[in-house]
C-alpha cells in the first residue's frame, strides 16, 4: 500500500482497486496511549497513518503539503489548540474531511463538532469497526466535488472510478450486509462515469491537481466577491470571475463556498447570542441630542417573523412611557433576515451580507463591505422631532419617534460629505452636515446599513438613486432641511429605519420607486413637508410609522387614514388606519377604531389620549402573536398586504397603524395615551384579501401601512404633514 489514495492518476489507477487501502490519515491527539492504539488500528485497516501529538505541528504539516493527507482524525481536547479550532482551520484552508474524537461525548460537544464541520465524531475508546468505515468521508467529499465539476462542464471522465471498489478483497466489518452496501456503492460509482475521480483535477491534462490553499488574502478576495454578488447570488462561477485568480478553479470556489456558508451559519448562530454589537453612532450623543423618543422596536421582521407574546410584552414595556430613551443599537449580528425585502432581487443579500461580513470583520479583519469614510461619529442630529433612535438591525424596528414640536438646534458631530455614493458600513454614522446640495446615493447597494445618515442641513436633495438595495436599513436618516428626498428606483429604502426629514422637508418623492419604502420604519417628515410623491405603487411604510408632525402642508391622508397599499397586481389593498396625531393637539381622542379588513381579527381600537406633553406614548398593537415574514420582496410590491399590524407608537403625532391581514392574525392596536388628532379617519379600508402573494406571510403583530398614493389622498388636517402622492 505504498501509493496512497490521493496520488497521481496513474498510481491511483493501480491502487484504486484496493481502495481504501493506503488512504492517508493524519492522526492528532495529545494522549500518547490513545494515539498509539488508534494508530495501530488504522494500520490494521490498511490505512496509511501519520501521527502528531500536537495540533500545531499537525497544522504545519498540513500547510506544507495538503495533498499528503486524505483525512484527519483529531482529538477534541488538546493543550495547544482546541480540536475544534483545528477542525475549522483545516476545513477552511485545506478542505479535508476531519473526524473528531473524544471520550466526552456529551451532546453539546458532538454538536460543536457538527457545527464546526466535522464529518464524524468518534467516541473514545475508539473501536476498530468504526475506523474501518471512515474512508466513506473521503469518498463522499470527493464525489460532491465531482458533482460540482460536472456542473461546471469540465468533467474528466475517470475510468478507474469504476474499478475502485473491489468487493472481494475488502472485508468490511460493517454488520449490515457489507457486501450489499459495497455493491451499492460500486453501482453508484459506475453510474457516475462522468464524475471526476477522487482527484480534484478538472483539467484533463493534468493528472494531479494541487489543493488550493485558502490564504487570508485569497479568502478576502473570495469574500469580497461574494459580497459583491450578494451571498445568495454568489455562485461559484461568478465568484471565480470576480476573483480573477489565475489557477483557481470553479470547483475550488464551489467547495470553499460551501464551507463558507456553513461557517456563516454557525457564526450567525453564535452571534445571535452575542448581542454585543454596539454602534458608536447611537450611543454617543443620542441622549443628549435627541429628544425623547419612545422607542419601539420589535421584531416584525424575522426570518420566521414571529412576534411572540413576549416580544410584544417587551415592546409594551418599552413603549409604555419611557420618554427618554437613549439610542441603542442592539447587536446586529443576527442571522439573516430576509431576503424578502423588496423586490426579491435586489437588496436581498444585504443582511446576509452584513451578517457574514461582520463576523469576518471581527474575526479576521476582513471587511466585507467597502467602507467608505465611515465616520463613526456621533449622533445624528435629529430633527426636532426625534427622540431616541433605535435602530436595530435585526428586528424590524419601528422607530417610534416622538416628534417634538420644537426644532432644536442640534449639535452634531458630523462629517460632511459631498455627494457620493456612500456605502456606509454598518453601524456607522454618516452625516453630511454641510449643506450638501445633493446627498445622493447612487447605485448604492447599501447605505447606512444599521447606521445613521444625517444629511443635516439643507441638503438639496436626498437622493437615493438607483439604489438597488435597501437603502437605509436599520438606520436613521435625517435629512434636515432637505428639499427633496428622492428615491429613485429604490427598492427598499429605509428598511427598518427612520427617516426624519425634520425640517422643511419639501418633498418626499418616491419616484420610480418600485420598492418598499420605509419598510418597517418610521418616516417623520416633521415639518412642512410640502409634498411627497410617489409615482408608482409601492409599498411605503410598510409596517412603519409615518409621523408627520407638524404643519406639513400636505400630508394627504385621506381623512387621516392611511394608505392603502395598492399595487397593480393586488387587488386587495389594505388599509391602515392611519392615525395622525397632530402635533400640538391636546385633544383627547376617543378611541379610534381601527377599521380593518375583515381579515383582521383583532383590530383593536385604539384609544388615545392626548397627552399634553409631547411625550410619546406608544400605541401598541397587541394583537395576538403573529408573525410575519417577508418571504420575498417580490411580495411586497404589489402585494395585498395584509399586514399585520404593527405597532405604533404614539406621540402626539403619530399615525399609525396598520391593520393588516396577516394570515389572519392579530392585530390589535392598542393605543396608550397618545394624543390623537381629533379626527382619525379610519375608513377607507378596503378589504384586503388575505392572500399573501409571493409567499409573504404576514402574521404578526406588525401592521404595515402602506402608504401609497393613498397617501396623497390624505388630507391634511391639522396634522397633515406630508402628502405622499
Amino acid at each position: 500500500m505504498g501509493t496512497g489514495f490521493a496520488n497521481s492518476k496513474i498510481e491511483s489507477e493501480r491502487v484504486s482497486d484496493k481502495f481504501p487501502v493506503g488512504m492517508k490519515i493524519l492522526l492528532v491527539d495529545d494522549d500518547v496511549t490513545c494515539l498509539t492504539v488508534v494508530k495501530r488500528m488504522l494500520l490494521i485497516c490498511q490505512y496509511d497513518v501519520t501521527v502528531c501529538a500536537e495540533a500545531t505541528s499537525a497544522l504545519s504539516l498540513l500547510r506544507e503539503n495538503k495533498s499528503a493527507f486524505d483525512l484527519i482524525i483529531s482529538d477534541v481536547h488538546m493543550p495547544d489548540m482546541d480540536g475544534f479550532r483545528l477542525l475549522e482551520l483545516v476545513g477552511l484552508e485545506m478542505d479535508l474531511p476531519v473526524i473528531m474524537m473524544s471520550s466526552d461525548t456529551r451532546f453539546d460537544v458532538v454538536m460543536k463538532g457538527v457545527s464546526h464541520g466535522a464529518c464524524d465524531f468518534l467516541s473514545k475508546p475508539v473501536r476498530m469497526e468504526e475506523l474501518q468505515n471512515i474512508w466513506q468521508h473521503v469518498v463522499r467529499r470527493k464525489w460532491f466535488e465531482n458533482k460540482e465539476i460536472e456542473r461546471s462542464g469540465s468533467v474528466e471522465e475517470s475510468e478507474h472510478n469504476r474499478h475502485i471498489i473491489d468487493d472481494s478483497e475488502y472485508t468490511s466489518t460493517v454488520n449490515d450486509g457489507p457486501d450489499s452496501s459495497w455493491k451499492y456503492q460500486k453501482k453508484k460509482r459506475d453510474s457516475k462515469e462522468d464524475d471526476d475521480t477522487e482527484l480534484d483535477s478538472v483539467d484533463p491534462t493534468s493528472s494531479k491537481k494541487p489543493r488550493v490553499v485558502w490564504s487570508v488574502e485569497l479568502h478576502q478576495q473570495f469574500v469580497n466577491a461574494v459580497n459583491q454578488l450578494g451571498i445568495d447570488k454568489a455562485v461559484p462561477k461568478r465568484i471565480l470571475e470576480l476573483m480573477n485568480v489565475p489557477g483557481l478553479t470553479r470547483e475550488n470556489v464551489a467547495s470553499h463556498l460551501q464551507k463558507f456558508r456553513l461557517y456563516l451559519k454557525r457564526l450567525s448562530g453564535v452571534a445571535q447570542q452575542q448581542n454585543s454589537f454596539s454602534n458608536t453612532l447611537c450611543g454617543a450623543s443620542s441622549n443628549a441630542k435627541l429628544g425623547q423618543l419612545g422607542r419601539l422596536d420589535f421584531q416584525t421582521m424575522a426570518v420566521s417573523g414571529q412576534i411572540s407574546p413576549q416580544t410584544l410584552a417587551a415592546l409594551q414595556d418599552e413603549l409604555l412611557g419611557r420618554p427618554s430613551r437613549s439610542l441603542t443599537m442592539p447587536s446586529m449580528n443576527q442571522p439573516v433576515v430576509q431576503q424578502a425585502l423588496v423586490q426579491g432581487n435586489s437588496c436581498v443579500s444585504f443582511e446576509r451580507g452584513i451578517t457574514f461580513g461582520q463576523p469576518l470583520l471581527k474575526g479576521q479583519e476582513l471587511s466585507s463591505f467597502p467602507v467608505w469614510s465611515s465616520n463613526n461619529l456621533g449622533v445624528v442630529g435629529s430633527s426636532n422631532n426625534l427622540g431616541g433612535l433605535d435602530a436595530s438591525q435585526n428586528s424590524n424596528m419601528l422607530m417610534a419617534m416622538l416628534p417634538l414640536p420644537q426644532p432644536q438646534p442640534h449639535s452634531r458631530t458630523i462629517s460632511s460629505e459631498s455627494n457620493h455614493a456612500i456605502n456606509v458600513q454598518p453601524s456607522c454614522l454618516v452625516a453630511p452636515t454641510k449643506p450638501s446640495d445633493n446627498f445622493q446615493v447612487a447605485v448604492n447597494p447599501m447605505l447606512n446599513h444599521d447606521s445613521v445618515a444625517v444629511p443635516t442641513q439643507s441638503s438639496g436633495s436626498y437622493q437615493a438613486g438607483n439604489a438597488i438595495a435597501p437603502m437605509t436599513q436599520d438606520s436613521v436618516v435625517v435629512p434636515q432641511s432637505s428639499t427633496s428626498m428622492k428615491m429613485e428606483k429604490n427598492d427598499v429604502k429605509n428598511l427598518r429605519s427612520t427617516i426624519l426629514p425634520s425640517q422643511s422637508y419639501t418633498s418626499i418623492s418616491l419616484g420610480n420607486n418600485p420598492g418598499l419604502v420605509n419598510y418597517g420604519s418610521v418616516t417623520i417628515p416633521c415639518q412642512q413637508a410640502n409634498k411627497s410623491q410617489s409615482d408608482k405603487t409601492f409599498l411605503m411604510n410598510h409596517n412603519s410609522l409615518v409621523v408627520p408632525s407638524q404643519s406639513s402642508s400636505t400630508l394627504k391622508t385621506q381623512r387621516d387614514v392611511l394608505v392603502n397599499h395598492n399595487s397593480t397586481r393586488n387587488k386587495d389593498s389594505t388599509h391602515f388606519n392611519y392615525i395622525r396625531l397632530p402635533t400640538k393637539s391636546n385633544v383627547v381622542t376617543s378611541s379610534m377604531a381601527q377599521i380593518l379588513d375583515g381579515d383582521f381579527h383583532n383590530l383593536a381600537t385604539a384609544g388615545y389620549l392626548a397627552p399634553e406633553t409631547n411625550t410619546s406614548d406608544i400605541l401598541l398593537s397587541t394583537g395576538s402573536n403573529t408573525s410575519w415574514q417577508l418571504a420575498s420582496s417580490k411580495g411586497i410590491i404589489g402585494q395585498s398586504n395584509v399586514h399585520d399590524f404593527c405597532n405604533v407608537q404614539a406621540t402626539d403625532t403619530m399615525s399609525v397603524i396598520l391593520s393588516d391581514k396577516g394570515e389572519g392574525k392579530n392585530l390589535g392596536f392598542v393605543g396608550k395615551g397618545t394624543c390623537l388628532p381629533s379626527r382619525f379617519a379610519v375608513d377607507d379600508i378596503e378589504s384586503p384579501t388575505n392572500e399573501l402573494t409571493n409567499g409573504i406571510t404576514y402574521t404578526g403583530d406588525d401592521a404595515y401601512f402602506l402608504n401609497q398614493d393613498v397617501y396623497g389622498a390624505l388630507q391634511s388636517g391639522p396634522c397633515a404633514t406630508t402628502s405622499y402622492k
Binding site: 494522549d31 500518547v32 490513545c34 498509539t36 492504539v37 481536547h77 473514545k124
Partner: protein
C-alpha cells in the same frame, strides 16, 4: 505440561479481571491488535499508559494540594486520564475518572481529594494486575506456547 499449567494459570488469573470489571473489552481489542508483526503491542501501549498516568496522578496531587484549586486544570487532567484509561480498557479507573469529573464541575475539593485517592487505588491495582499478566504471558511464550485468548 508446564505449558498447559502456565496457560491455565494465565486464564485463571485473567478471567476474573474481566469479571470484576478491572479490565474490559477494550483490553481484548488491544490484544487482538497484537500479532506477529507487532508482538509486543499490548505491552507497549500499556507501558505508555503507565508512564502517562503516573505523571497525571502527580499533577493531580499537586494541583489539588493548592490553596486555591484550579478545578479546570484538574478537570483537564482527569479528562485525559479518562481517555487513556478507556483506551486500554482499564474500566474501573475510567469509572472513577467519570465521578471525579463531576466533583470538579461542582468544585468540590473534598470530593476531588476522595476521588483522587480512589483513582490511585484503582490505578495501582490495574497496574499490578497487568504486570502480573504480562509476566505470565512471557512465561508461556518462553515455554514455547501461545497465549490463550479470552475471546
Amino acid at each position: 505440561m508446564e505449558l498447559a499449567n502456565l496457560q491455565r494459570r494465565y486464564l485463571d488469573f485473567t478471567s476474573p479481571l474481566f469479571h470484576e470489571g478491572i479490565l474490559d473489552n477494550q483490553f481484548t481489542q488491544l490484544q487482538q491488535l497484537q500479532d506477529e508483526s507487532n508482538p509486543e503491542f499490548v505491552l507497549e501501549v500499556v507501558t505508555l499508559f503507565f508512564d502517562d498516568s503516573e505523571k497525571l496522578l502527580n499533577e493531580l496531587t499537586r494541583t489539588l494540594d493548592q490553596q486555591v484549586v484550579d478545578f479546570k486544570k484538574v478537570d483537564a487532567h482527569v479528562h485525559q486520564f479518562k481517555g487513556s484509561s478507556a483506551s486500554i480498557g482499564a474500566q474501573r479507573v475510567k469509572n472513577v475518572c467519570m465521578a471525579f469529573r463531576n466533583y470538579c464541575e461542582e468544585m468540590d475539593q473534598e470530593g476531588c481529594l476522595t476521588c483522587l485517592q480512589q483513582l490511585k487505588q484503582e490505578y495501582f491495582l490495574v497496574k499490578n494486575k497487568l504486570e502480573t499478566l504480562f509476566k505470565l504471558e512471557q512465561q508461556i511464550v518462553a515455554a514455547g506456547g501461545s497465549i490463550p485468548m479470552m475471546w
